[in-house]
């Protein structure tokens, strides 16, 4: 097992190098560079730039070098100094920008993840145990509706209804007062209230997938011979469902967790913009749009690292969950 993990970790290095290269290449593909988007955004606010101003800016940001030279310098900085570069947008080091929102992003995403599983596992099990019942149809319908409705649209609709009902616009997780006075206990109820819309909007999106997976797997397992044997032996239905079937049914669900780590890090993007959530996703999008390449590169690369780590973790979790995987490992 250790050897296996070690091997996987070694593979990590070339994978990261290739990924970083591809990321950097893709980010600089669109025409223009950070200076063009910088000038565009300030021009939109009325500032006038001359050719000389633009040339000066480009020199200042080191954008005169070809992209592979910029890439090499960036990687060199990361490897030798652990320096991930400088965000043009924020005028600060990339990591300080990421750290700003990391805690909140992880908190929000983690709660949403828990919400998704807490909602969809019981529903999935219920649907499998009551296949083709009215309950099965109703939950499946709701689940499909949740998946089919684009999150951002749902977000707009929910915010509109809430505005019509309460006369208040709930944008972002923090009210002006919280931002002004800092967080304290008196704001906790409002904060939790403000979490509801994002939780509902983003949370429902992933539930249908999990419900369907669990339902299909459970149905599969229920007709297996070991289930029949257990039932014949007189095991209670609860034992059969939770001890035998569910354990096998969780297999693909756990594999799906691999991607979650990355989601926890960045959070959702479009819905976060619509609901004005102060999480990582919108920062990444803005960085990509303005070709703030070191920031975008670092965020995407961290995501890639987390996907790789997530895969490793989910493989390990699977090995723990499913003895068959360990046997094949030994073989």
């Amino acid at each position: 097992m250790l050897k296996y993990i070690g091997k996987r970790l070694l593979m990590f290095i070339p994978t990261m190098l290739i990924i970083s290269f591809v990321i950097f290449f893709v980010i600089q593909l669109p025409p223009g560079d950070y200076v063009t988007s910088y000038v565009a955004s300030l021009s939109a606010q009325g500032e006038v730039f001359t050719e000389a101003d633009i040339a000066y800016l480009r020199e200042q940001y080191g954008l005169n070098d070809p992209w592979y030279v910029q890439y090499f310098n960036w990687v060199k900085g990361i490897v030798t100094k652990g320096d991930f570069g400088y965000s043009f947008n924020y005028g600060r080091s990339v990591w300080s920008v990421i750290m700003d929102r990391l805690f909140l992003t992880m908190g929000v995403s983690f709660v949403i993840l828990i919400f998704q599983y807490a909602v969809s596992l019981p529903i999935g099990i219920y649907c499998a145990n009551h296949q083709y019942s009215a309950g099965d149809y109703i939950w499946s319908f709701i689940g499909f509706l949740g998946t089919a409705t684009p999150n951002f649209l749902l977000a707009i609709l929910v915010m509109f209804w809430v505005y019509k009902a309460t006369g208040q616009v709930y944008l972002g997780l923090f009210s002006k007062e919280m931002l002004q006075n800092g967080m304290s206990w008196q704001y906790v109820p409002e904060f939790l209230g403000r979490c509801l819309i994002p939780l509902f909007v983003i949370g429902t999106s992933g539930t249908c997938g999990i419900i369907r997976t669990v339902r299909a797997q459970m149905l599969d397992e229920q007709t297996r011979q070991y289930t029949l044997t257990a039932r014949a032996k007189g095991c209670s239905e609860a034992t059969i469902t939770y001890k035998y079937c569910l354990r096998s049914a969780l297999n693909p669900v756990v594999s799906g967790l691999a991607g979650s780590l990355n989601t926890i890090f960045s959070g959702s993007t479009v819905s976060a913009i619509v609901m004005n959530l102060q999480i990582q996703g919108p920062v990444l999008l803005a960085a990509l749009k303005s070709q703030d390449m070191y920031l975008a590169g670092t965020v995407v690369m961290t995501q890639a690292v987390l996907v790789v780590i997530g895969m490793l973790l989910s493989d390990i979790a699977l090995a723990w969950l499913d003895p068959r995987i360990r046997f094949s490992e030994r073989g």
Binding site: P30, P31, G32, D33, T36, S37, V39, A40, S41, L42, S43, A44, Q45, G46, E47, V48, F49, T50, E51, D53, I54, Y56, L57, Q60, Y86, N89, Y90, G91, R92, S93, M159, Y163, G167, Q168, V169, L171, G172, F174, K176, L179, Q180, G182, A272, I273, V274, N276, Q278, P282, K289, S290, Q291
Partner: protein, 670 residues
Amino acid sequence: MKKTIALILALVLALSLAACARPQGSDPTDGPTDGPKPTDKPDDPTNPPDPTEPPEIEGFKEAPFITNLGTYGNVEDRLPVKDDVKVEDDAYLTVGKYGGELHRTASTGNWNAGKPIEEGLFLFRADGTVVPNVAKSWEISEDSTVYTIHLREGMKWSDGEPFTAEDCVWFYNAICLNKLDSKGVRACHQDANGDPAVVEKVDDYTFTVTFGTPKYDFIEACEVDLKWHWAPKHVFEDMVNYMIEAKNAPDDAARAEADAKALAEAKRITGVEFADSASAGKELLYYFWNYPGVPTVNSYVLSTEPGKNSINGDYYEYVRNPYYWKVDVAGNQLPYIDKIVYTTIQNVDQSLMLLLDGSEDYQTLGIDAISTIQENANVPINIYEWASESWGAVPHQIHFNLAIAEPHLNALFNNPDFRQAMSICVDRDEYASIVSDGWLAGGQAAPQKGTLGYSEEWSKQWTEYDVAKAKTLLEGCGLVMGSDGYYDFADGTDFTLNIVAMADMGSAENYAILKPYYDAAGIKTTFRDYDRSIIDSMTTANEVECMIYPATGIGDISIILKPNSMVPGTATNVVWYGNMTKETATGDLKTLIELNDKLKVTADPDERTEIALQMLALHQKNQWVIGYVEAAPTIQAVNARIKNFPENGIFTDIYRDMGLAHCWCWYIEE
């Protein structure tokens, strides 16, 4: 509404041009004179003249906010000497009361937060005249080479240090001449040969700006190009010295050392870490209002409290400047409102939502927002229609790149008959009524009523809807109808007009309405929208063929004050003239550039107006840019609790967008 806007703009026509040709009261024949003369000011109902005798102020009062802080001492000691305090006495103002917070939202601080509170050496009024602001008065030498500027005695920076001529002179000599703020010497400081002016201190409250050749428009140009003419020397002197040292360093090691020292200074002052001294210079010496700990002379200063002091954060505050140097007629030190607080949003539509529920107090919006506000607002919101600067509605302007490299297109775009065909093949009134929900009528890209160059003829030029004539004109341009029902070039090459637009501006919908008109006239078009930054780099690379809703629309309130959108070669992001310069321009375009150059060296006000009219006549003759819809007013949506917001004004960059609203005079009445 139209009448009021036209009235304001008419005042611009009647007065500003003469005024901007020569600063008021400075007739070369009667020798050096005092700059502003109250009697010169127009009889404008929206901005009536200052009373000839300023109201007698008994004593000065301060905000309880300041008193409660308890650390600032007497208000008299913080204001300039009594006669030099600036009194805000516009007739529309009422004496307000202190306190409260102005709530605003922005996707990015920067100019959005900076323009409303910006203070210039001088100040534009709605009629285009320039009045004293930080400068108390000024004199101009007979030959227009020496400008003597008088400052306000006893005026202070927001940290309480004296604001003197030294700050103004040092700013120019140390910062501008060394280009430490990334902008360097602005056009207003250059004489006819492009040589920089000499700026010298006379005494603590007087300095001179001397030009090698006569300079006729320094006062207005300073207000357009530069605005502020100072930096806090007592704060930045060491940092700037290190930056200069780095700039002149003999080797890399010395440069790195000086650079590091400059960065350490920048960090000590603001707490912000910069990547290199060039960006520190650009940010702290140019975008100074964006950083905590940098003293200003503005009405509000960015908070230094953590969590409230970063314009990249989710929330930040601009707090009242205890040393602000303006008072109301009752002697109350301005501003009335204690803080301007900003919450960051990620999309402009969110700010409209927040306006509706009362979480935001003020926003500039498009005309289509009126019905949304009227139907959905939960709080009373006042809607003021300000004039805008553009020629016709910018979202419905179509720009053809007259400098496009492709020879077929270049010849076609430069042919006025083609532009006329593109103009008359669209049923404007139908189009306008669809795109504006009936708010606006069709129109042409032409000066607004009341501004220089306006004529009814021009505003109706090429606006008749006539498809048959459009086709005849196109055939006259050498296009030949192909078998597919669309015109091709005479040599058989396919003619397709590739229109682009900025993705976030809703032009796709407008194109969908325009396309059937173009199809009917036999003009094959394609449409694609791109992100703003991509459009901008395409513009810079001269790749845009044709664009709807350009980033920089054509038109401004004055071709003399700000010709950028109207004269080739004066800005970088204008689609219709692309990368054209004086060398590459031909015909009327070349004449236009030459006239603009001539304008810069012409002293006589009448002659300047005459040149400007000639330039505008060229625009009228050629109609280089086509507009389909009349200019829309700019909607100022203001929560009704905000008082002292002027009903009429002009929304233009020259006046710092909503700058005429003078937010330091606003107060809150719940």
